[in-house]
Symmetry: C2
Subunit: 282 residues, 2 copies
Amino acid sequence: METIKKIDKLKKSLIGKREGTIGFVPTMGYLHKGHEELIKKCKNENDTSVVSVFVNPIQFGKGEDFKEYPRDPKRDSDIMKNLGVDYLFCPEIKEIYPKGYKTYVNVKEFDKVLCGKKRINHFEGVATIVLKFINIISPDTIYFGKKDAQQLIIIKKMVNDLNLNTVVRSVDIKRDLNGLALSSRNTLLSESGKLSALKLSQSLMYVKEKILNGQLSEVKEIKDIIKRNISKEKGIDIEYIEVLSLKNLTELKKVDLNNTIIALAASVENVRLIDNLILGEI
Amino acid sequence: METIKKIDKLKKSLIGKREGTIGFVPTMGYLHKGHEELIKKCKNENDTSVVSVFVNPIQFGKGEDFKEYPRDPKRDSDIMKNLGVDYLFCPEIKEIYPKGYKTYVNVKEFDKVLCGKKRINHFEGVATIVLKFINIISPDTIYFGKKDAQQLIIIKKMVNDLNLNTVVRSVDIKRDLNGLALSSRNTLLSESGKLSALKLSQSLMYVKEKILNGQLSEVKEIKDIIKRNISKEKGIDIEYIEVLSLKNLTELKKVDLNNTIIALAASVENVRLIDNLILGEI
């Protein structure tokens, strides 16, 4: 594995690799098994694999956890080496956003719902860094996990709208044995916090079964059930529970089994967690 | 010359041309000698030349002249054929902005000065269409005239900020024998309107000589002289006269001979005209 910090160097290194396919996994590091799934898929499907580790400052708002976001570059690098990654791209902030940087991309409306309601400019930051990475790497395929579903949907929309020559592929949420969606932020939770957080995935699984059985389809009812269920557990602060169209993130009244996302965000011990249930192809 | 209306067809046609260089000139059609200069330069410097004709609706504000913007596709096509253009790309609006289109790019601050003060979202529209064209065509070099200097500076900034693999080249303003900067909109002026409009370029030439002679350097004085000069002519409605840094479009107090743009916009017979004087490399 070659570790590269400079944009020009990475561009040059990849020139000779264009005969085959290039796959790319963007990450903010502190890798967990969910990232590993993405990297394995990328490795399996491409001749050359590039993984980035970059905690992107412009996607964190004021008062958010940019500084506290967990980092462990040595461990990340070891995991990637073991997985056979070809290039680790880990630029410094000033390499990506030099003095006087001014250009930002927005996927309008898509960025104003769910996490975008509270996290102003978050998806502008996400879309901008991914667009820059796509331009630097020109990957045939870029990989995202379904846990950050809104991110995935926004990037797919951006790639399509901007006529980029990259395919966006998604990988299912990886969960621990109890069902908790894996996240780098989980390491900030105490053991009791992790137990509380289980209510999130459990509530989603509960309504999933009822929906698939045909017992539940009204959005209002779904939201109420999830809310009641989570509220039983003390110490969970719900930010939102939403049921939206998977394709354009607009509100639904009834579940469509081929085009629905049930998404939620909540804080446990001041750690912001998200989870979702997707019905349909993304 | 092959005329292409579909994005996928153009992408496919260009696959076999990547061994050589591809040059691209984006236009809104109704070609004049200024466009011809751009196209000739593009032809001379590249193995394959692509020229687009697309009156981009999202760069026109409400009440602006999108509908009235002059169009003559047959004449444009003939001129391009004569100049030896390889591909004319003239997509319909729905090909570029299909239903549900949502993605926009902004070069912040750069888009709020000069023409951006009155033309809200104009440069968002310009940057977005150029980014889409760059992604569709992947040109080695893209060509812009210096008449739309703010556009040129914004596109250069976007290409640099977004790490695009395209070189932005600029071509000097083409003027008629009297000095009027060529523009597709000039055809909307009467003969007497054209005579009035000459005050714009004449005022710029007047201060240029004084600046180069060392007799004039204070920005306030330069703006006053141009304003007085233009105001002598009846029927010119000045929108702005600004003297800015060429690199980052911020205000100057004194002219820097290597980094200054003196830009103005004015209306004659309700036709909006712009002109500028550039000191330094762009």
